[in-house]
């Protein structure tokens, strides 16, 4: 490839060359995802903002701006930002050791541990609140063992702990998924040259890991920034984020203009954050020889490593799985009585939810969401990974994550009420809403991987006569399959556990599992509570199985990852 006398291209120059390629391909790839975004995000958002804000005259607008700049609003925004920053930092702190251990070592039960660690992400807050309150309250077993009497419920600490609980899976999946493809020989080379393990990590591995770390940080921050259930239920009435305020203003005070203004503030922050992220991302991406898992992982040998793995597993299980076991335990408190009760409809309720139907509906929607998010995400990532002006579009695709579900839900109501887009009350709308949230995950998981593929690999294939599509199928796809699987897991998870937007556009005849759980929990009586716990356990089991299944898939002809 290199001719004698010709200067080698730097990485930057290679990328610049790639950017100058014809933009027709870029436009074609991006067309469908862009239309999707315009139709199902910008259009409904525009509708609700238009209806909310255009009703205001000049005086109304001035009042609105004054309200936004008032001390109470500034406190609200400051709190929202502050808790998100702190939560993100703590989540990374907690999650990185786990990502390291699960990336580097292969040990029996690794896959199951990974699946279990992802389960919290899928559970509705309404369920998790009960579990976490059991662990954080005065009757907690921790109090019993340690002899203390702390009560962390309805405190700022509870919010932080809950955020770590939920978002640990993001660090694990994104960072670990990328870490496992890094060539360990790079770090080993540094070690042979005399670097201590810490220096090797700091100067070699960490910079290589930067794209995935950056992605995980951004996503977790956006999640915590738009946090609703955790702050409302676990934080208690003393705390409110922007999202909570938007919900209250919309639903309880019917102050649509203020709610719309707050939504805009939230979107603007997300936009700003994502711009920073995309600029940083381009700087930290490097070409890498991405390795399959079987070549980068090794079994646990030394006793020090065993201790490391065991301690890590204990921490993960203690933090993430133990609260859930409380729920599972409660569901089995009367043996299988609650589970059997799930299948009975003694009062012939018209909205009785047969568990199999709920599972079927949830799976149906989740699988459709995953398929759609994967297709759209792949197209988007292929269009965007080359850089250039693509960063703007990259930012646009992230905006749905930072948009209030209430605002968007109402937007759907306004936008899709006439044919040919009369989608209100259909499951299709639920799939579309879920895809909007799942799509950024797929893109975010794919981009670092695609950007890390050496262009020389593709050029080699092209030189050997392969057409564009063949290059993609034979070179890109197998390498990024892992990233695709990560994205699929997220899209699936988000859809299975989604409750807020779904509750606005659902039909009672087609319940999903979270909605069924919520119904049980809104009535007194141990039978209702027990059935809610049983449904939650079923949700956990179905999701775990889903994760394991997705991970086992490999493209034909490849070695096991």
């Amino acid at each position: 490839m290199d001719h004698p006398g010709q200067p080698k291209l730097t990485w930057r120059e290679t990328r610049q060359r790639a950017r100058r390629r014809p933009t027709l391909e870029f436009a074609l790839l991006l067309a469908i995802p862009l239309i999707f975004l315009l139709l199902f995000y910008f259009y409904p958002l525009g509708e609700i903002l238009r209806v909310s804000l255009l009703s205001q005259d000049a005086g109304g607008v001035r009042q609105l701006v004054a309200r936004l700049l008032a001390p109470s609003s500034r406190r609200l925004i400051a709190f929202t930002l502050g808790q998100a920053l702190l939560s993100t930092f703590l989540t990374l702190l907690a999650g990185l050791p786990g990502a390291y251990v699960l990336a580097k070592y292969d040990f029996p039960g690794r896959r199951i541990l990974q699946a279990l660690a992802t389960v919290p992400f899928v559970l509705p807050t309404v369920v998790v609140a009960a579990a976490l309150n059991a662990v954080l309250g005065p009757k907690s077993p921790l109090n019993h063992w340690l002899g203390t009497s702390f009560d962390l419920r309805y405190t700022f600490a509870a919010i932080l702990i809950a955020h770590v609980f939920y978002n640990y899976a993001v660090v694990l999946r994104l960072v670990r998924g990328f870490w496992v493809t890094l060539d360990p020989r790079l770090e080993e080379a540094a070690r042979t040259l005399g670097a201590s393990p810490w220096r090797a990590f700091w100067h070699v591995t960490l910079p290589l890991l930067a794209p995935a770390l950056l992605t995980a940080t951004t996503l977790i921050f956006i999640f915590c920034f738009t946090s609703f259930g955790v702050v409302l239920i676990l934080g208690g009435p003393r705390f409110a984020t922007l999202e909570v305020a938007i919900y209250r203003q919309t639903i309880h005070f019917a102050n649509l203009p203020l709610a719309a203004a707050l939504s805009l503030v939230q979107i603007l922050f997300t936009f700003g954050l994502t711009v920073v992220y995309t600029r940083l991302q381009r700087r930290v991406t490097r070409p890498l020889d991405l390795k399959p898992q079987w070549s980068t992982q090794r079994p646990v040998r030394k006793p020090r490593e065993i201790i490391l793995v065991v301690v890590n597993a204990v921490v993960m299980l203690g933090l993430l799985t133990y609260p859930l076991l409380v729920l599972v335990g409660r569901s089995f408190d009367e043996g299988l009585h609650y589970y059997r009760a799930l299948f009975e409809n003694p009062r012939h309720s018209i909205f009785y939810v047969p568990p199999l139907a709920a599972i079927g509906n949830s799976l149906h929607i989740a699988l459709r969401t995953t398929a759609l998010a994967l297709v759209l995400g792949l197209l988007t990532a292929l269009a965007l990974y080359r850089g250039g002006v693509a960063w703007l579009f990259d930012t646009l695709f992230m905006l749905p994550l930072g948009t209030s579900a209430v605002t968007l839900g109402l937007g759907y109501l306004l936008a899709f009420d006439t044919p040919p887009l009369d989608l209100r009350g259909t499951p299709t709308l639920i799939v579309l809403a879920h895809t909007l949230v799942g799509l950024p995950f797929v893109v975010r998981g794919l981009l670092p991987a695609l950007q890390a593929i050496r262009p020389s690999l593709r050029e080699a294939a092209a030189v050997l006569g392969a057409r564009r599509l063949a290059v993609f199928l034979e070179v890109d796809l197998p390498i990024v399959w892992r990233a695709l699987a990560v994205g699929a897991v997220f899209a699936f998870t988000v859809s299975m556990g989604e409750f807020g937007a779904t509750s606005m556009i659902a039909r009672p005849e087609f319940p999903t599992i979270p909605i069924a759980i919520y119904r049980f929990l809104s009535r007194p009586g141990s039978l209702n509570y027990g059935q809610a716990m049983a449904m939650a356990t079923i949700l956990m089991a179905v999701c775990s199985a889903g994760f394991l299944a997705i991970e086992r898939l490999r493209p034909p002809g490849t070695q096991p990852f």
Partner: protein, 357 residues
Amino acid sequence: MKHWLPLFALAALVLGCTATAEPIPTAQPTVVEPRELRIMTYSSFDISEEVIAQFEEAHNARLSFLDAGDTGQMVSQAILSKDNPQADVLYGIDNTFLSRALEAGIFEPYRPAALDHIPDTLELDPEYRVVPVDYGDVCLNYDRAYFEDNALPIPQALDDLTAPQYRGLLVVENPASSSPGLAFLLTTVAVFGEDGYLDFWTRLRDNDVLVVDSWDTAYYSEFSGGAYSEGTRPLVVSYATSPAAEVYFSETPIDTPPTGAITGPGTCFRQIEFVGILRNARNRDLAEAFVEFVLSDTFQSDIPLHMWVFPASETATLPDVFVAHAVEAKEPAVVSAEAIEQNREAWIQAWTDVVLK
């Protein structure tokens, strides 16, 4: 192709799911070519299949229900989509949101004949844009075992709650996010007046009241009488029918409820729920027939065990568990729907400043 089997299986699953027209419905649709009546309601709505089938057969109709979340969400959606409503009938708007909906003009008046069986006190709209269909009383519930074990007298009036012997025993919901929470706040406004309710709440705050976000957190996590509660508080704001529900939904048959409701004068708030025909409804005659049906004894007698509220009709029969264990509030607190709409935000803000700061 080394791993075609799982790949094929997943492809078949995805294709199968996307090829299927609709997910699995839980209600069985009727066969003949009936007309569709759409009913928008909240997520706790529930009734027997037989009752619905009775209406569908009698009128050759197919009822489809739209779950619009909780009452607040439902009203927001109905108002926003009033020019092209999602449904023909709205079921379940209550008196705390009534004024907002009436002002937005989303209903069309209709006076059903069955209104004769409904007490006049429930009919809040003289123009019959909505008619009352059921009511629930938001009352304090107490944990019997706790009060017996500690030989504490059960509070009889709201003022008692500020007594030292009840310090740290009460959990309430945030009126900014919870419907029973708001109802309790309105009770205090009605009992102590707009000048006095904040003073009551100051005393209550000093008496260590716990505020949580919603009913299920209060009942299941803080109330000592709820199932599996880590809670230590034996007093909670809940419903007059909650003790009856505890009996009905107990895993082992019991005769007395483990909890009780305080229903004395000036301690409860009556949430009246209404049904109304939406403007621009499609099948107006079917909608009217449905409103009549909802007020009929068949439907009204079916309400208690499904939605745990009292039927509005005086001629409906109550189930045994209601007769034995559900007590209606005597002289519930009354705040007019208009006053609620006008002052809601101000009252909640004032309350927040006193109790949460």
